[in-house]
């Protein structure tokens, strides 16, 4: 059955099914792409977006279904074939070769220009080609620079340049804006629009739903491996979209915060903090018991460094930290922990959990001493440890087959909860959350927000560092905005709104 509509479609995926042992990642998914359109792909973790894209990229082999490019079916996709068919992918991990310079990364996978006589690489021609492509895209990076010396945003630009090095008809971007600053995001959007004006089709995957509304024409929603619907973006509202992704009743994302909460004593006082790397200059602030203090800024403003510094990573040149009235000098993570400071790091997979260890092992990892049979033999009391893990699993609603499951098999949201559980076990004096909901699906986010408020209501002191203005406005009692290393705004609950936060980031 072939509609004549089909040939007008750049890409048509029909009935794509892909299973892994123990789960079906994609089940009978249909997806199509028109010429020159921007088509968003959304869904929670485990919904199947990544797998679908990897099937299209030839990285996974599909179990069933058809893929048609410009109306012709394609079997046995490999990354090479996908490339030859005009598909270009920018995966979340960027996949640049750190040792190479920009030019070689741009040409990666494509033939190098060769000298006619010797058939050896013509380096100058390569640099010229690369330079041309960068210029066409309005990117001013010297192609001879080493990729390692670039910032993340610049690396993203290189990844785009690579994708566009040879003429591609389909461009797939997976979470392109998670590491970009606002200005760069707008540049990216302009770039995408210019591409589609020339006829390229773009598949845009993102968790940032507001971007979808700004950029995409159609959106396909996946849920639990199946397609829920494909709709025109203009016909949807944000809450409807969320409902489609999550199913059931629309849920309130952010918990209700009482006005005029009674806060306790000053838990942490920071006086004139200047960091060694020059990020923070003369920073001063206070956090009270039971307060959820938000901290944000543009990329590079210093908020992430502050979080790390509190935890003993990085060093300060001058200034003092006073925790519960006593001077606090965090020289290492271990020291920080001993003083009762806990950090849920921004990169959960590489910094938060030990993937191939079990859930219970990860949960007790920061507090092994509590589960010793006796201090001499230092043998772990497994029963106590498992019970503690199960308690945490229930309290935080961590979904796993049991405390014995290896953490790498949990979804992102549950892994994050495992990291939280690890710290809550120690009842930390100060809990620092660094980008706690990055890359987590909507319902897990809501649960984490609720958890944060509950902890605060119980008297915990929380520093919530994030670059998502919406969640800061929704979860925090106060938000401190950093700009170039010092505080540019201190917004109380009444003044809090995403717009106000963004303005303060830019210096309004």
């Amino acid at each position: 059955m072939s509609d004549d509509g089909d040939t007008a479609l750049r890409l048509k995926m029909r009935g794509i099914t892909k299973a892994f042992p123990g789960t079906v990642a994609c089940e009978e998914i249909d997806f199509d792409l028109r010429r020159g359109e921007i088509h968003a792909l959304v869904g929670q973790n485990g919904a199947g977006k990544s797998t679908l894209i990897k099937v299209l990229a030839g990285i996974h082999a599909r179990d069933a279904g058809q893929i048609l490019i410009d109306g012709s079916p394609v079997d046995h996709l490999t990354p090479r074939l996908a490339h030859d068919l005009g598909m270009r992918f920018i995966h979340q991990e960027l996949n640049l070769i750190a040792q190479f310079n920009v030019a070689e990364n741009i040409v990666l996978g494509d033939p190098y220009p060769l000298r006619r006589a010797t058939r050896l690489i013509a380096w100058r021609k390569l640099n010229r080609h690369a330079g041309k492509i960068l210029d066409n895209l309005g990117i001013s990076i010297d192609p001879r620079r080493s990729v390692q010396s670039l910032s993340v945003a610049e690396q993203w630009m290189v990844a785009i340049a690579r994708a566009l090095y040879t003429q591609g008809q389909i461009l797939v971007m997976d979470e392109p804006t998670s590491s970009l600053a606002r200005e760069d995001v707008h540049e990216l959007f302009d770039l995408v629009r210019s591409l589609t004006a020339r006829g390229t089709s773009v598949v845009y995957i993102s968790h940032r739903l507001e971007e979808i509304f700004e950029l995409a024409e159609r959106v396909t929603v996946l849920k639990d491996g199946r397609k829920v619907t494909t709709a025109d973006v203009a016909a949807l509202s944000l809450s409807e979209l969320v409902r489609l992704m999550v199913g059931g009743q629309p849920q309130e994302l952010y918990p209700i915060i009482q006005e005029d909460r009674r806060l306790g004593e000053i838990a942490l006082e920071v006086k004139n903090l200047t960091s060694a790397d020059g990020r923070l200059t003369d920073l001063s602030l206070r956090i009270r018991d039971g307060e959820v203090l938000g901290m944000t800024g543009l990329l590079g403003a210093g908020h992430n460094e502050f979080a790390d510094l509190l935890f003993g990573i990085g060093s300060l040149v001058s200034g003092t930290l006073v925790l519960d009235g006593r001077t606090y000098r965090p020289s290492s993570a271990r020291r920080a922990i001993r003083h009762g400071v806990a950090l849920v790091p921004a990169e959960r997979r590489s910094q938060g959990v030990v993937g191939d260890m079990r859930l219970w092992e990860n949960i007790i990892l920061a507090h092994l001493r509590r589960f010793l049979l006796d201090p001499v033999t230092r043998i772990i009391h497994r029963g106590r440890a498992r019970r503690a893990a199960i308690e945490q699993m229930q309290a935080l609603q961590i979904v796993a087959t049991g405390p014995e499951q290896e953490v790498q098999y949990l979804s992102g949201g549950n892994q994050q909860k495992a990291v939280l559980a690890k710290w809550l076990l120690r009842r930390p004096r100060l809990l620092v959350l660094s980008e706690p909901t990055r890359g987590i699906d909507v319902s897990a986010k809501a649960e984490i927000y609720g958890l944060v408020r509950r902890l605060a209501d119980d008297g915990s002191t929380i520093l919530f560092v994030s670059t998502e203005a919406e969640e800061l406005a929704g979860v925090c009692d106060r938000v401190v905005v950093l700009r170039r290393g010092h505080i540019s705004a201190d917004l109380s609950r009444v003044e809090l709104s995403p717009q106000r936060i963004m303005e303060a980031c830019f210096g309004g």
Binding site: G22, T23, A25, G48, L343, D356, M357, E361, R369
Partner: protein
């Protein structure tokens, strides 16, 4: 409504295969061990499966076993210790040199401390300075070889070795050689340390994700140092026992141990939880090598053919564990890796 499901099984096409294959992968090496045992028992029924021969096997692998146990600890944290054999050789020579001059326990303590010292040096350069352990231990083992040659001039040291010492290496209790008891003791201690003690959790955490370990308050550098020290001490112990068994300190004693120790550890890593080094697996690996050697000797296979067969079986064993993971049409292992790259991702 709660967050995404974990990988709870839905009806899948894999069904039975999904349940058998992980099991096959996990116990493949143990099965091969029994098959090997069976083979030799069938081929030489009167000689191979006798108590005497089994004890002989255990005696032969005891030293390899102790050495491999220490190596396993290093491999768990991701450090390749290439110097273990050289440490053993050096220790064998040193103990033979010291024994004539002082009490036995004094000599043993000194040599063991040397093992600690070398381990610390290894650990210092790899964990503190940050050089790849492969190269550090390669350099150290070169230096040790040179020192050993220098000290012995190529000759064995066999004078003045007390009977008490030799008895450790050759004596028996209830017909089981002391060496075997020592090996068993070592394995019990190491097993407890890695599987039951908090140290073991820290060890595997550092090996699995050093950054996360550090962010959880574990002193990563210290763990690496301890790992190298354990490896060094057990290597030194192996050398001491080797000298006891040979009743001399021989400058070429450690040859062949390095290869076999790594082989045993890697074979062991295919058991139980694939890809992870573990002490029980190493024990299985050591038994595997021991049974193989013993059987080939009993069959009268000339030594060069033994090499060939050992090497071939090693490669086959590794390949088979890789295949067991791959399963039907080579899909399963590939898929598991994809699975980890795929939906569990942040997106």
């Amino acid at each position: 409504m709660s967050s995404s499901k974990p990988f709870a099984p839905r009806t899948t096409r894999w069904g039975l295969t999904a349940r058998i294959l992980p099991g096959a992968r996990r116990y493949g090496i143990i099965v091969s061990l029994f098959l090997l045992f069976l083979c030799f028992s069938i081929l030489r029924p009167g000689i191979f499966p006798t108590i005497g021969n089994l004890i002989s096997i255990l005696k032969q692998i005891s030293l390899l076993g102790i050495l491999s146990a220490g190596l396993t600890i290093c491999l768990v944290v991701g450090d390749f210790d290439l110097s273990v054999a050289a440490i053993a050789t050096w220790s064998g020579v040193m103990i033979a040199a010291l024994l004539p001059q002082m009490s036995m326990w004094m000599a043993i303590s000194i040599v063991l401390s040397m093992g600690v010292g070398i381990g610390l040096v290894n650990g210092f350069f790899s964990a503190v300075v940050g050089i790849s352990p492969f190269i550090v231990t390669l350099a150290i083992q070169t230096m040790l070889r040179g020192l050993t040659l220098w000290y012995t001039g190529g000759y064995s040291l066999y004078l003045g070795i007390p009977q008490a010492f030799i008895r450790i290496g050759r004596g028996t209790f209830l017909s089981m050689p002391y060496l075997v008891y020592i090996m068993v003791l070592v394995y019990i201690v190491i097993y407890t340390a890695t599987n039951r003690m908090s140290f073991g959790k820290k060890l595997y955490a550092v090996g699995g994700n050093p950054t996360a370990a550090r962010y959880s308050g574990i002193r990563v550098v210290r763990i690496h140092l301890i790992a190298f020290v354990i490896s060094g001490v057990l290597a030194a112990g192996t050398g001491i026992l080797l000298a006891a068994r040979l009743s001399s300190g021989q400058p070429r004693a450690g040859e062949g141990l390095l290869l076999n120790a790594f082989a045993a550890c890697f074979l062991g890593a295919t058991a139980f939880r694939a890809g992870r080094f573990n002490i029980l697996g190493t024990l299985i690996g050591v038994l595997f090598i021991g049974i193989l050697n013993n059987g080939l000797v009993i069959l009268g296979v000339p030594f060069y053919l033994q090499y060939v067969i050992q090497g071939a079986i090693l490669v086959l064993a590794i390949a088979a564990s890789g295949l067991a993971r791959s399963g039907v049409r080579g899909k399963v292992r590939q898929s598991e890796r994809e699975e980890r790259q795929g939906d569990i991702e942040e997106v």
